[in-house]
């Protein structure tokens, strides 16, 4: 159990920040309110996602408070040469110059760049939506003034996170918006889109695609704008992450081909169904599931033998579907005590029901409720954490540093999980240092794209 810290809380106050899963509501276990920000920064933001685009330069057009975070995101990943800003001042809100400022400001930034990138990602934000600016007109003027550049419409509008397409899926969708309809599709090209990290090479997905004689492509493989355009030729667009689905749907609709959504799963039956469905789609033979499952079972058993009764905490940034992960581990004897999640994906309903039935005492903790400012485990290194937020709240250096799955997929995520749990148990990490790094792995992923 977490202990209260500080003197402003009694247990009654803290009650609103956690709940037994049996007593929780689905998919929103906690009421809203003012929010706390845990100092955990590994999840990529829209700056990081945009940096995956080859030969692109980001220009953010917004007020100082919004610029501050994104400028320093770029600076911290040593990418200031791929990043510019246009500052919206208060006068621009009221004197009718918001649109001109985008056109003139972005054009000015382009003119100052020593190397002219092919793509300019223009990030507008909440104020442009509220002012009702004419985006079509803005981009028409930008293209007219800068005929040699391609403009990607990007958005930093967190106020829209609960209405319409939220910023994260919107960014993933827009990242592929410059793909042009190819004159000819490649019937043997398989694209995975919308992920931060490329799918791990040990994943069965790669095995299946290879077996079918398909070529495999992800944006992380593309070093040039032309290589990026190759993605458009794919006959199959696979998404494995729910916020990437709009990207997949959009690509299939605009470019032709088929979109398949098959998410990361921690349930053997679902993994089997997922991999077989992908194989069927590209006429690949089914893999030997039994041997894969046996391998997972062996590794999980090894991990359990080593980790024994060490309590485990999981958070929602570790991988999509933290409840499914908790169920997998609990059913294999691990002592999972709590899951940190402010809400649940509707994909988790089956796991949620199973946990309520079989493990009703599993605790669900919020991460952003204001009470969480005062919640941190007193006993250092008592827990094994799966995920950066769990590591922070549980105050432990024994943790597995996956961020949104870190590219693991299929049975391979269970194998990787087992191996990494053993490693985390045996070898402490410097959690405070690691979790403070913004966009874990982005700099390495994008380093090839530096000007």
């Amino acid at each position: 159990m977490l202990k209260k810290i500080g003197d402003v809380f009694d247990d009654k106050n803290l009650d609103k920040a956690y709940v037994r899963i049996k007593d929780s509501s689905f998919p929103t276990p906690f009421p809203g309110g003012v929010e706390f920000s845990a100092p955990v920064r590994g999840v990529w933001n829209i700056v990081h996602v945009g940096m995956l685009m080859p030969e692109a330069h980001e220009v953010f057009v917004c007020g100082g408070c919004c610029l501050r975070g994104v400028v320093l995101t770029a600076a911290e990943m040593n990418a200031t040469d791929r990043f510019s800003t246009v500052t919206v001042e208060e006068k621009n809100l009221f004197d009718g110059t918001l649109e001109d400022l985008i056109v003139d400001g972005v054009t000015d930034c382009i003119a100052k760049l020593p190397d002219k990138p092919k793509v300019i990602q223009v990030y507008t934000n909440c104020i442009h939506h509220f002012a009702g600016i004419d985006f079509d007109n803005v981009y028409e003027r930008l293209e007219k003034k800068n005929p040699d550049r391609k403009f990607m419409r990007c958005f930093m509008n967190p106020i829209m996170r609960k209405s319409g397409l939220a910023p994260d899926p919107l960014m993933r969708k827009q990242l592929f918006s410059l793909l042009e309809k190819p004159t000819e599709k490649d019937g043997k090209l398989f694209a995975v889109i919308g992920n931060d990290y490329p799918i791990n090479k040990d994943s069965e997905l790669r095995e299946i695609v290879n077996a079918a004689g398909y070529k495999y492509i992800e944006i992380q493989d593309c070093n040039t704008y032309e290589e990026y355009q190759e993605i458009a030729k794919a006959s199959t667009f696979l998404t494995t992450y729910l916020p990437a689905v709009p990207a997949g749907e959009s690509c299939a609709m605009r470019l032709g081909g088929k979109h398949i959504y098959k998410p990361i799963a921690f349930d053997y039956d679902e993994i089997r169904e997922t991999l077989d469905a992908i194989a069927d789609e590209i006429c690949a033979p089914h893999i030997d599931h039994e041997s894969k499952i046996a391998e997972c079972e062996k590794l999980l058993s090894d991990a359990k033998d080593i980790i024994k009764e060490m309590p485990i905490a999981i958070d929602y940034t570790f991988a999509p579907r933290p409840l499914s992960l908790a169920y997998l581990l609990l059913t294999h004897g691990f002592k999972v005590e709590c899951v940190f999640a402010d809400s649940f994906s509707k994909e988790e309903e089956k796991a949620y029901d199973a946990l309520c039935e079989e493990y009703p005492d599993l605790l669900i903790y919020a991460t952003s409720r204001y009470e969480m400012r005062y919640v941190r485990e007193n006993d250092k290194d008592k827990y094994l954490a799966l995920g950066q937020k769990a590591a922070y709240f549980m105050n432990t250096d024994y943790f597995v540093n996956f961020v949104i799955g870190s590219g693991h997929f299929g049975y391979e995520i269970i194998r990787a999980l087992s191996v990494e749990m053993i490693d985390a148990y045996k070898n402490k990490k410097n959690a405070d240092e690691i979790i403070s790094v913004k966009g874990w792995g982005c700099e390495e992923e994008c380093s090839r794209l530096q000007v």
Partner: protein, 384 residues
Amino acid sequence: MQQTSSVISTYSADTFGVCSMLYELGGMVVMHDASGCNSTYSTHDEPRWNKIRSNIFVSAVTQMEALMGDEEKFITDVIAAAKDLNPKFIAICGTPIPTMVGFDFEAVARVIEARTSIPSIGVASTGMKSYVDGASKALLKIVKRIVSARNVSRETLEKSASKESDAAKRVSVLGVTPLDFSINGQDKSITSFLESKGYDVLGNFCMDVELSDIGNITSSDETLVVSAIGYEAAKFLKEEYDIPYEIGLPINGVLHKKITNDITSDKRIAILGEGVTSYSIALSIINTLGVKTVPIVTVDIAKDLLDRMNTVTETKHLIYEDDIKEELKNYDIVIADPLFRPIVGKDKAFINLPTECFSGRIYRKDIPDIVATSFIEDAVKKYL
């Protein structure tokens, strides 16, 4: 073109200046923002985040709440948190969207105070000005609020001032936040300097002070404004309580108030950054090394403060990248935050002077204590 930055960073915003100023006072500060401001503030602009717990939150306003003018949701959420956290005061501040929809922070603060009986202030930050503006407003508001609550009149002060003539002069230091002074002990160096001059330091406002210390500000014999953030509060205390103020930051153990040396070098130095710090460094270099040094204030500063500095030494105010870049052509040596480096010609000598307000946490470990050490003088000497 103004308002564009092709390569340099941007200063911390007014919203974060409010939070930084009030961070240690035991209150609860709520930024009226959709999302992101709390993350930005806690990551880049608040080095105390993991060391000192403070109630800094965002309202998580949604599109519909903003469009429909649902201020009651904001009020209800703030009050719910306040009931659990029992803060000494509540401060609410703004970002661009509340500014666009005309959110009245002062009125809402009054509603919150009426319903909770917790002293509340509204700071109408817009998220579109610099930290100097926000921190300055926050300091002025909290000083006014606390001082007025104590109902201290000038006459009362005059009576209480009948102290022993040989008692140490009491001084309050105004405009101290980690955004300008980091957490490397510079605030304590300011205190040590003043104590070495025989002062009784009532506090550095606002680092390592409590809300109750603000109530004692009116018993100061004088105030020292060490950044532009402290200027408006100093003027208020002068106007309302006749407390005189001095402007300047001690550099290497000396508070330079005027130019005392001739220019003997043919080099020209530009010092970029916050106004009072740049001005104080410039005076220090001129007086100790005889090198022409021009403070270039690259962030908000009150016009009358700038004018006042200009009466002592030439001081420029340039906030846009193009203007700064052009001006820097006139100098041999540039002292600035490393994130200014890309706009400084390669032929110029560049002295890194990192600041939290510009580069956030990136160079934190390299931020020098310029108050107590000869860092500036030593660095400049290498290029003379």
